[in-house]
């Protein structure tokens, strides 16, 4: 067991970004508060992305009032599967993934069935703000349910893996893919037990994984190797991350992307305060990469062209 001072010294040496430093030196300085609604409200994010020509899951319906809930059953009838989520939700709270129906009941991603009453109750909880930041009344989105790309079938358990890319001033600086496990209950949130796997930015190959705080090489449920997988459409993913800077106006932003079997990459959400576990998954600190971009900024060499920014990232931010 290492003593805390040794740990702190070593972490500082690899440039690990702590929460306080992320908030004080990046979020507070590069993310203007007036742009927060663009990412905190998933509906706004979606509209902005559509306007910018970036791919997102199609919007089926928006629920703003209690009385609209009852009419939803008919409105959603044409869709076999769909996802309901609170516009201001976070951490996966309140998200309902419906994979199909049985009679009058909805079948959830986990396989359990939900009566119409339960469904309506869940939605009205969401409307009253139970799952939302700050608990203020919210609206709900109903959107296309992503059919995930089979490349990940062998390394995920009961859910959709998503790719998280941190974009700083439009430069994709670090990336990982989050693989759901039995423990995470199909959700792709690391603190709930999903695996984070670091991705090498130039090649789009997965390099190393972390589960909890331990490094892993294989998926604990499927026992397939999680290292050396090639992420499909990788350059496209990087470009989406780079372009989300112009879209959101936020300098320091986390972009969550899922890969659909037919539609390719789709933006799920943007995050103004992306988590720090991505550093464990990559075995590297964020700070040196952020500094490299700040260096460009200082010398006035920041690029306005997303393609150039991706090229810079590919030549500088390798994860071995």
């Amino acid at each position: 067991m290492l003593n805390p001072f040794t740990i702190a010294r070593r972490l500082r040496r690899i440039g690990l970004l702590g929460l306080n430093a992320r908030n004080a030196d990046y979020v507070l300085l590069y993310n203007q508060r007036r742009f927060y609604p663009r990412v905190d409200d998933k509906l706004q994010t979606k509209n902005l992305a559509i306007a910018a020509g970036l791919p997102v899951p199609a919007l089926y319906a928006v629920v703003r009032e209690e009385h609209e809930i009852a009419a939803l059953h008919d409105k959603l009838a044409p869709y076999e599967s769909f996802v309901v989520k609170p516009a201001h939700g976070s951490g996966g709270d309140g998200i309902l993934v419906i994979h199909g129906r049985r009679g009058n009941r909805y079948r959830r991603a986990g396989g359990s069935l939900m009566s119409r009453g339960e469904f309506e109750h869940h939605l009205s909880n969401g409307l009253s703000g139970l799952y939302s930041l700050g608990g203020q009344p919210d609206h709900l989105l109903v959107e296309y349910c992503v059919k995930f790309d089979p490349v990940f079938e062998k390394v995920s358990y009961g859910g959709v893996p998503d790719v998280r890319i941190i974009s700083f001033l439009g430069y994709p600086v670090m990336a990982m893919i989050r693989l759901p496990t039995r423990m995470s209950d199909g959700k792709a949130n690391l603190h709930q037990g999903a695996i984070g796997v670091g991705i090498d930015i130039p090649t789009g190959l997965t390099r190393r994984g972390v589960w909890g705080t331990e490094p892993v090489e294989e998926h604990p449920d499927t026992e397939n190797s999680i290292v050396g997988l090639a992420i499909p459409h990788w350059q496209e993913l990087l470009l989406i991350a780079a372009r989300s800077y112009e879209l959101s106006g936020l300098g320091y932003v986390g972009v969550d992307i899922v890969l659909d079997r037919e539609l390719g990459p789709l933006i799920l959400e943007l995050n103004a305060r992306p988590g720090l576990s991505i550093q464990i998954a990559n075995g590297q600190g964020l700070e040196p990469r952020l500094r490299a971009v700040q260096q460009l900024q200082r010398s006035g060499n920041l690029s306005a062209d997303p393609i150039e920014r991706v090229a810079f990232a590919c030549s500088h931010f390798a994860t071995t």
Partner: protein, 512 residues
């Protein structure tokens, strides 16, 4: 740039807070700890006299600027008398004049003062004017000259000169010169006055004062003390009747020697006695009284001037910032997670009315029962606001029930549950149950227990008497706290829990 400004503002806050604190502590003598006690003396001067027919006037000299002491409080008791207090022009004396048109029988007048040792030293003053040399007969002049010559041979400076002279005066078998000179001057006061006059012959500035020794409780006596002006230090040096130089420890200077302490105009038989009683009082009380006596606005504009009930409220309110600061430390330096940012502080606050153990038990009881009800309500599928309202109602009912039950059982502590913040408990119940559903019972219980533990910690700090006292008496330390908070406002180092969280990254490294 932005950081410099921040540091500047923070430093300013800290300096202002510390300066105000230091001033109140050192100069105004506000006590640092709640148990500090100060010795005070209650002095009662009693005047008795036989009135004559017609108007009577009694003049009593009062203590004023006694170096080393302050008056906390004084009272005059003289029924039927008109009273004026006069200060002399030089500011060195003060007297009370009691007047009555008609009085019958023995009269008793009282002056009571509470004095307190403030440790102040005498301020330097200018050289006083010269006293008049004595008027002496021829034989006495010769004796005086011989005496002074003899004294001069045995002394080195004016103080030792005066000391020698007083020792000659108090010799049990005086020299013939002294015997001659003191033949007509028997009382101690007369001798002191005579000494001053003799010293004037030698151009030594001297005066004498009536002073009271506060050493023992009981009857006290005003004794004459000689004072010699020290031209170098520009202060007065004190000599007792035996010629010993130096200020005795407990000497309270009452009044100037050249005026009689008591003057009963016209009437005969004026008597005067003093009683001294020492006691220990709360230093805070002493400091406040002293300021009030000095008529300073500092008390009038401080928390100490508020009604007692309001003071009690502020004693508690002023601790909230301390609790909030602890939360700041725990969250940003340690990295602890709790339900709600300041919720533990508010819970800790409510423990102040119960005591820790009872508070925790009552809190767990109410929240636990509330949770059971909440889980049942989950089945009823209520909307958020109606659900919160119904939990609130249930919480209030549970509180009333616990109060009634504990009253029946004779457990007084259960009654204080009425002071628990029900909104906080309602929100706690809701948060715990949401976390239970979303993140599982283990997580919810861990968070709840963690929050409660931190509330206990905050309570222990917030109810630590020395700290409570410090913040209440010196609210300016909150400025220091604000300064520290500002400094921490841009702390961007690691949190302690992060070291644990990222330790796997550190393990793969080696020190190079």
């Amino acid at each position: 740039m932005r950081k410099t400004q921040l540091y500047l503002v923070a430093a300013l806050m800290i300096v202002i807070g510390l300066a105000a604190f230091y001033y109140k502590w050192h100069v105004l003598s506000f006590p640092l700890t709640p148990v500090e006690q100060t010795e005070v003396w209650d002095i009662q001067a009693r005047v008795e006299y036989q009135p004559r027919s017609g108007p009577n006037q009694v003049t009593l000299q009062l203590p004023m600027n006694s170096p080393g002491f302050s008056i906390l409080d004084e009272r005059f008791m003289a029924r039927g008398y008109g009273m004026t207090i006069e200060r002399d022009r030089a500011g060195s004396g003060r007297e009370v004049q009691w007047r009555i048109r008609r009085a019958r029988g023995d009269q008793a007048l009282y002056y009571r003062a509470t004095v307190y040792r403030d440790g102040a030293v005498e301020a330097p003053g200018d050289r006083p004017g010269q006293s008049q040399p004595p008027e002496l007969e021829e034989a006495e002049t010769a004796a005086a000259n011989a005496l002074l010559e003899q004294v001069r041979e045995q002394s080195v400076d004016s103080a030792s000169f005066a000391s020698r002279l007083l020792r000659e005066f108090s010799e049990p078998s005086p020299s013939p010169e002294v015997a001659l000179l003191l033949r007509e001057r028997a009382s101690a006061n007369d001798r002191a006055q005579f000494a001053v006059e003799l010293l004037a012959i030698r151009n030594i500035a001297a005066r004498w004062v009536h002073a009271l020794e506060l050493g023992v409780d009981g009857a006290g006596e005003l004794r004459p003390y000689l004072q010699i002006y020290d031209t170098d230090a520009r202060i007065w040096r004190m000599l007792d009747a035996q010629g010993r130089i130096g200020w005795p420890d407990n000497l309270l200077v009452w009044s100037r020697g050249d005026r009689p302490v008591l003057d009963v105009d016209g009437a005969r038989g004026g008597r005067f006695d003093i009683r001294v009683q020492s006691s220990l009082v709360d230093s805070l009380e002493a400091a406040v009284k002293r300021l009030e006596f000095r008529d300073e606005n500092l008390v009038a504009y401080s928390l100490l001037s508020l009604p007692l009930q309001t003071q009690d409220v502020y004693k508690i309110l002023l601790m909230v910032p301390i609790g909030a600061f602890i939360m700041l430390l725990l969250r940003n330096l340690i990295g602890v997670k709790t339900f709600g940012t300041f919720m533990p502080v508010l819970i800790a606050l409510s423990f102040k009315w119960t005591s820790l153990l009872a508070g925790v038990i009552l809190f767990v009881l109410v929240v636990g029962m509330g949770l059971l009800v909440r889980f049942y309500m989950e089945r009823l599928k209520l909307l958020l606001v109606p659900r919160l309202t119904s939990i609130l109602i249930v919480v209030v009912l549970i509180m009333a029930f616990v109060s009634v039950l504990s009253n029946r059982l004779g457990l007084e502590v259960g009654l204080s549950i009425a002071l628990f913040p029900m909104i906080i408990m309602t929100m706690t119940i809701e948060r715990v149950s949401v976390a239970w559903d979303e993140r599982g019972p283990g997580y919810a219980m861990k968070m709840a227990a963690g929050s409660l533990l931190i509330a206990c910690l905050a309570y222990l700090v917030m109810s630590w008497p020395p700290l409570e006292h410090l913040v209440f008496v010196f609210p300016e330390v909150l400025l220091v706290l604000l300064g520290l908070t500002l400094l921490l406002g841009r702390y961007s180092g690691y949190r302690l829990t992060e070291l644990f969280r990222f330790r796997a990254l550190a393990r793969s490294q080696t020190d190079g």
